[in-house]
Every structure is written in C-alpha cells, then in structure tokens.
Symmetry: D2
C-alpha cells in the first residue's frame, strides 16, 4: 500500500501468528483441567460465578448452586482492575485462597483474573485457569510470563482489540511454551451505547476457523445488561462457542460490583437448562 | 448535562418514539402478507434470494428452490445503491416486474429495496414488502412517504445507526399511518475489519424489549463472509429474531454483486434445516 | 484477499473515483460564487449563520453581523433533517425565500441544505450553494440530480462515512456534469461520547492530497460543544481547510435548534479575528 | 438509567477523578525538567526523536540535530511493545543507558517508554520522563508504582480509551503522590482506515478545560502517515497543546520501526519553524 512507504517489513497474518493457527495444528485443542473437566474439542463448558469474591458465605452458596447445576468451573475476581483508583479492588490473595479452598472441596475448578507478573507465583497453587482481562490483552510482559507457566490461560480480547491482535497475544503465550490457551470474546467498544459493550459474536466462527484454540464467550460483560444476557449466551452457543463465562450471584442487587449484568441463581438455572438443550442439538 | 447548556428541549426516549414502543402496544405486532404468510408474533420467517435480480433464469431457479424449501418470501434488488457511480445499479423497474411476475406465479412474496420517493408509486403493485436500506435509514422524506403507503416496510438500521435512531425512523413511518413496519439489524461499522460489517445481535433482545414491531436479522450483509453466515443466522434465531434475510444464489461465484457473502442453494438448504430445528425448540 | 472469494470485481481506488482525483486535475479547483466570492485555491472562506432560519429579525441581525465582519456567505437551514418526527423541521421554502431576499440585498451568498430531489427545482433561484447533509451523503438519487444542476454543492461526509465513500459520492455529482463540488468534514461517530461527534481533522490533509476539490470544515457540528468550537476552527484552518462553516446566533440560548454548539456574535467575532491572523501566516 | 438496575453505586465524574481536575487546582500545572526545560503553563515543548533507539550513531546524529533546532527533549524507545512476539522489541536497558549518556552530555532530556513495574527501578536514573504507552493506559499496577516515583510521567490515552478513563488513570498516579503527570492524545481507533489511527484533537480543549495537567499531542502515531504529520502537528498546536511528540530520523526509510510515520530531519526542521511561528501568535 502506497500509504505506507517507509515501512520496511510487512508480514502476512500467517507470519505474525503461526503456532495458534490451523495451519500449525489442524484439529481442535482440548484443554484438560483434571477430574474429567475439559474445555474445547466439542463439549460446551460453562464457567459461572460472581464478578468479585466477597466473603465465605457468598462463595459457599455459589459453589453449592454450581454443584446442583452440574457445573464444574467457578469464576470470581480477587484482584479487580478498576478504572477509578477509588473503586473496590478486590479481596486479593487471601480472598483467592478462601475461594479456592471452598470450591475445590467440592471439586469445582477455579478461574480468576491475574493483573500482574508479581502475583503469578503466589496465585499459582490456588488457580486452575488464569484469566487475562481485556485491559491486559496486550500487556506483553504478563503474556510472556504466563507463557512459562503450566496452567491454562483464558485470554480476553481487548476493549477494542482486533481479532488478529488477540491471536498474536495468544501467540506470545503459546510460543513461550504454554499451549493451554483459551480465547475469549467479551464485547467490544463501539459507537452504540444502548448496552455496556457490543458483544461481537462474529468473532466466534472467525476464531474457530483461524485457530485450533478453544473459544469462550462472556455475554455478561459482553452486553452488560442482565435482561439481555440469556439471549446472547444462547446465541454464542449456537455460533459455535466451546464455553461460556456467566456472572451469577445469589442476590445481584447486593453484589459489590457489576450487579447490573449479573443473573440471579434462578435466572442462571433457567439459562443453563436452555444451553443444555441447545448443546444436544446436532447443528455442526 | 452541563455540556449541553444552550439546549432548550431535551426529550426522554419515550417521547421521541412512542407509537412503536411497548408502552403504546404491549403485545407483538404480526404483519400479514396474505396467503397465510406472516412476520412477527412467534414464528420464524425466512426471506431468501439473490442480492440483485439478474435475469429470468436466475429468478425462476431461485423461486423453484424456495418452493422446494417451504420458503414464502423472496428477496432481490432491482434498484441498487452503490458507493461508486460506476458500479452495476440494478435492472430497475423492468427487472422488478419480471421478478414479481415469476415469483407470484408460485405464491412467493416479493421484498425489494426502494431508493427514492419517485419510484414508490410505479413499484407499488409489484412489491409485497418495501425494503429501506442502511443508507436511507434516515432519509426522512422517503420515510414520510412510506408512511402513507399500504404495504409493509422493512427498515434497516443505518451503517452506524443507533437503535434509538432506528426506532425514531420507524416512528416516522408509523406515525404517518403505516403500522406495518419491520425492524432489521444488518451489521454496523466498527474498527474491526476481519469481516465486512459487525453483525450486532445485541440489538435483537434490545429491540424486542423496547418495541412491539417484528425484528429481522440480515446475517449475509451483517458479517459479509459466506463461511460465517450460517453461524450468525443460527445465533440470530436463538437471540429472538422473528425473521432472517439470507442471500442465496445458484452460483455465488457468478453473482453480479455480493457473491462473497452469498450461500449456494446447497449451503442455504442445510442452513434452513438447522433453523427449523432451532425454531422448534422451546427456549423463550 | 481470500476472505472475499466469490467477488468478481475489485477496483482500485483510482478506478472508483477518478474525475475528483488529483490524477485527473492536478491544480486545486476554485469555485466562483460571483461578486468576487470564491471557495478553494488558496484563500480561507468563512460561512456563518444559525443552524435554522427562524424569522426575519434573526436573518437581518445575522446579515448585519456578517457584513460587519467582512463575511460573504451565510448558512441557515430551511429544511431540517431531524431524527425524531416530532422535532422542528424548519420553515421550508417560504423561509428560504425570506432568507435569500434579505441576505442578497446585502450581497451575502446563501448556503442551505437540500433534503430531496423534489425541492431542488423550487429552491434553485434562492440558493448559491446546495448543502448535502451527513444523512444524505450516500443518497445517490439526490447526488445524481445535483450533478445536473448549475450551482455549487457542498457535500458532507456521512456520520460514519469513509473518506473513500465521500470521494465516490463527490464523483456521482461531478461525473454527471456539475464540477462545482465542495467536500466537508463535519465530525464522525466514534466510541467517545465526551463530545457530540469526533471532528476528524486528519481528513483535511488526506482529502487535499487525493482530490483537487475544496475542503471545508464544520467545527460546530464536528465537536458540538460551543466552548470547544474556536479551538477546532483554528486547528482546521492550519490543517489546510479552504473554508469553515460556523454556527452563530445573536442569542444561542434562544436558538430553535443546536444552541449548544452555536457561538454568540461576540464569540464568533473573536474567532474570526484569530482565523484572519492565522490565514495571513505563511505555513504551506 | 433504568438499563442499569442492580448497580449500587454510580459516581459523578467529579468523584472518579478529583485531584487532576480543575476543581482541585485552578491554574495550569507546570512541570520542571531542570536546566530551564518545562512542560505546561504556556510555552510549547517539542519532544522529538526516533521511534526506537538503534545504535550510538543514530542517537548522536539525532542529538546534534535537536541541539541545532533548539529542542531540549529527545524521545526514543528502548523497550518496545509489539503486537507480534516475533517483532523487534528494542535494545532494552543497555540501549537506554547509551541513549541517556549521549543525550545528557548535550543537556538533552530523555523520554522513553516503561512497560513493566520491574524495570522502573533500573530505568530510573537514565530517564527524565517515563512514558506510559497506549496499551498500558489502564495497567493499574504500573500506574500505582509510577505514582510513587519522583519523575514526570507522560500518560498516553488508550487505543480506544475515553477521556474520562484517561483522567482516571492520571488520578491513579497523582493520588499516589506523583503530581508530575502529562496527558497525551495519540490517536484513537475508529472505523476509518485511511490512516493508522484517528488523531482526536477534540481531546485537547476538553482535557485543558477539565484538568490542570499539561496536554501533549503525538501526531506521528496519531495519524501515522508521514505526509500528514505536519498538518496535524500544527493543528494540535493551535488547538492548545502544551507539547508535541514528533518522530524524526536521519533516514526514515532505514528506521527499524515506524518509518512510515517518521519525518526526515529536513521535514522536521521545516515543521519546527512553523510551530515556532504559530506559538508566537497571540491566539488564546
């Protein structure tokens, strides 16, 4: 392109990400979390729980709810990135330990966000999946370090990240040796302000075609309005997602963060039933 | 808001559109096209056909295909809006007459785009649904005139139209007396260029909640890449759409416009089967 | 691009617009409005006035103000496109006649928006420049007709129009025979909601490089907040604009539309002085 | 807003950032870099240099050029964030030491990007301004740590960061005790792909009004095309910027990164002359 005279090196996409592409590995990657829990390779894996870990009672109630629903992975933030320095920033490492000990006692796997290289090591034994949030999607130092860890990493698309950038960020982790990478669509920033973000489900067939990695959809952050979360979760399911991240809380009105996008247990339960019905249909 | 000092009148959304809102009419609007064909009110209505009408052979083949699939509405452009003045602009009125006469002989309803007030009258008797394209979504002169016509109007969201603007444009038509308005999500313009547009399925639960009008999804223009159209069509279905606009052509490689997003009859047939399966599930 | 298999014809930009490009005409186009008033070709032309024409008093006051400032072109809408059918839609043709008769008595040229093909003819004798608004930037029927008219046309970029689309829309007019086309940047739609639109001044050097047509900036709609209009007007001037569209009103608080972005006469006068100073600097 | 039922706490903007706002400090903040070099408070400060530090020869040539131009701050990356793991990632700490030692010998101040908390300490003595890049604009761990450092921090707006988010990120640094924060507009991500980014100059009057902190514009990354950089640099100057970041290289065609947006010394010199002329005009 003549706009870009002065550029010395332009690479084709297939050069900038390679190991995470279908040309490197044709079949889908399936990630094993132990105890028979997997992500990718055909089944639908639901990961549910509150935005933030708040206290033992909340964790225990959620764990019991997930067990009753046949769900094996619980989400919950202990380290929270917040736009304002004056917002609640999570319970930190102690909160994570409490969360993990209650969840694992019931064989529930733990997914939680990691914000910084320095906390990888202490978090390590209490985490089953490290989550990299949208704001860290191009924090290359963090990606480099997670590439050296023997734990799955769920990598969210940036607030306005392109899919090519997401795949390149996954390549950072994968090329350092950690092949357990999960891609996550979580809504992008557009001109439309009728919802918190614009969940971009077009990303699902695109990512599934370009990459062998599992693709997860987060409709809770994606659309950000509780009443629309079920429709988007179902849509993500039939679009081909390998998993869903769903925010649920016993009492969303009392959640310390993101209550507006969080389903009650009753609402979540109804949604899970529908997802199961859909997953049983032979569509692919 | 202090930004906007100097503004005299700020209306609440419920003031700027009223007749198309759920506060005006609680139950869903069902539009009757005759011969038992309807849009809205529960069933899924598929509208399929080529981007542009090309010749009698193409129309006849498409009509036969739709009949074989149990589909009752055919799309096809006779007047084409094109960014460049040097592109193919459609067969015009003669093409439309030919299209309508072949389709109606097999009881297939006709949906086609209207570009200008001056062509409403001559198109009238050959059209079952007037389609207003994204570039005319805020052509208020055209909307005013379509408000006086006794034919359904399918109104597409603008290239970067907000949902509130779409509802206000619908209000133009409805408030002039034409209550047969269908809303259509067709993909928005975002920073992401991995696809032609970003189909915004979040619009479906939003529009269904705010308005009693039927909501249709156009995954062909919406994502604009043939391989991803089926996933997005299915996703739109479970998100709650009342109808789908699908581009199909006997030989997409030879289509005069938009071949890249057009399904072959074989691909379309497989998709229709899946849509039927999904529509039979009880999810709502 | 392999995304787009099935596409038969991809043209290079230089094919989709040609007559408006620098490869067709190397030097800048200068448009003569008569009485020594010109746009393009070096000088800075300010066009100022209210958003909407309201009454004789308002027009007369504005004309007197412009005369006192040495400004020769007055803007003012008689036909207003409004998102809601319930908003003020302008005084129409009678308002335009009144506007033109008062302005021309003082040798002030008239620029006003045309919404529809049917009003071109009656507006003709009362207009010196037809303005095509952002919502009609791809109303190809209107562009075709304006291509047959012997009056300058100021063409605004769409709400989310690309610059390539703007140039193609200009090509519609130019290729029909009307070579007096003026391009206008008026702010685009982005995720940022701190201002009404995001005035995109990058468009100025881009359009000046690609096209020989004059380029005008509308900072009033572009940023949409009165306090920021002067900074953006000055920035547009040094970015290379051939003209500016500035909203001004004797009493912005009482303006029937867009008061929030309209300068008082006092504010406008201070701005005009600064623009003159800048225009005298030798920067190019 | 009824969309957001379930939200417990909504703060007004003035609550989410407070110390960086004009309500906390009315007059402009002026940051002293020593040796009479300042940013903010009236004067225009140009910071120029290559995208990446490459070798001693390149640094020495650039330093000599800046001295000849009367410019006192040199930019140059030693740690480079790159979308792809396979791109050049900079010379690292050794490169920075070399850069600083050559620049400081001629009393040129050093601004360079910091990517990670762990490198703050070793970089400390070789840096006069820490630059936080767009991808780290919401890396709250990094912002927290920079808040404890006694060096100025130039904070870039995120790729699709809102201005409110930028001010909140500045508040992170400021509220931890480091009051030497500089805000930087560097182009946002929009649908328009005619340029690398869309430099958003509307941000300048907005940020100057809301905050007492100095505001710098980076037209090189902002528009990303060499031929348009001068126009945007001039426009940023009259829009009210306190400083400019300009990429320049003795031979842009040979630059290891971002050559397409980098001015030659000759082009830069012509631009600096124009900026000086503009800065001497009394516009404010």
């Amino acid at each position: 392109m003549s706009h870009f005279d002065g550029v010395k090196d332009v690479h084709r996409v297939t050069d900038v990400y390679k190991l995470v592409s279908r040309s490197w590995r044709v079949g889908p990657t399936r990630i094993d979390l132990g105890d028979g829990v997997t992500i990718g390779g055909g089944a639908m894996t639901i990961m549910a729980g509150p935005c933030s870990i708040e206290d033992e009672k909340q964790v225990a109630e959620t764990v019991d709810f997930l067990v009753s629903q046949g769900i094996h992975v619980m989400r919950g933030g202990a380290f929270k990135p917040r736009s304002s320095p004056y917002s609640f920033r999570g319970l930190g490492l102690e909160g994570l330990k409490m969360f993990a000990s209650i969840a694992r006692a019931k064989k529930i796997k733990v997914i939680t966000e990691v914000l910084d290289v320095s906390t990888i090591e202490p978090m390590m034994e209490h985490v089953d999946i490290f989550q990299v949030g949208a704001r860290n999607s191009q924090n290359f130092t963090l990606l480099d370090e997670l590439g050296k860890v023997d734990k799955p990493v769920l990598l969210k698309r940036g607030l306005s990240g392109t899919l090519e950038e997401l795949l390149q960020s996954a390549e950072y982790i994968f090329s350092k040796g950690n092949e357990k990478v999960i891609l996550c669509e979580r809504g992008i920033r557009t001109y439309e302000k009728a919802y918190r973000n614009t969940l971009d489900l077009n990303a699902v067939p695109y990512l599934k075609e370009k990459s062998h990695l599992p693709v997860v959809v987060d409709p809770s952050h994606g659309v950000g309005i509780r009443r629309y979360v079920p429709a988007m979760a179902l849509a993500g399911t039939v679009a081909g997602a390998d998993g869903l991240l769903i925010e649920t809380h016993k009492c969303p009105e009392e959640a310390l963060s993101d209550g507006a996008q969080t389903l009650s247990f009753q609402e979540a339960s109804e949604l899970f039933d529908k997802i199961k019905k859909l997953s049983q249909l032979e569509l692919a």
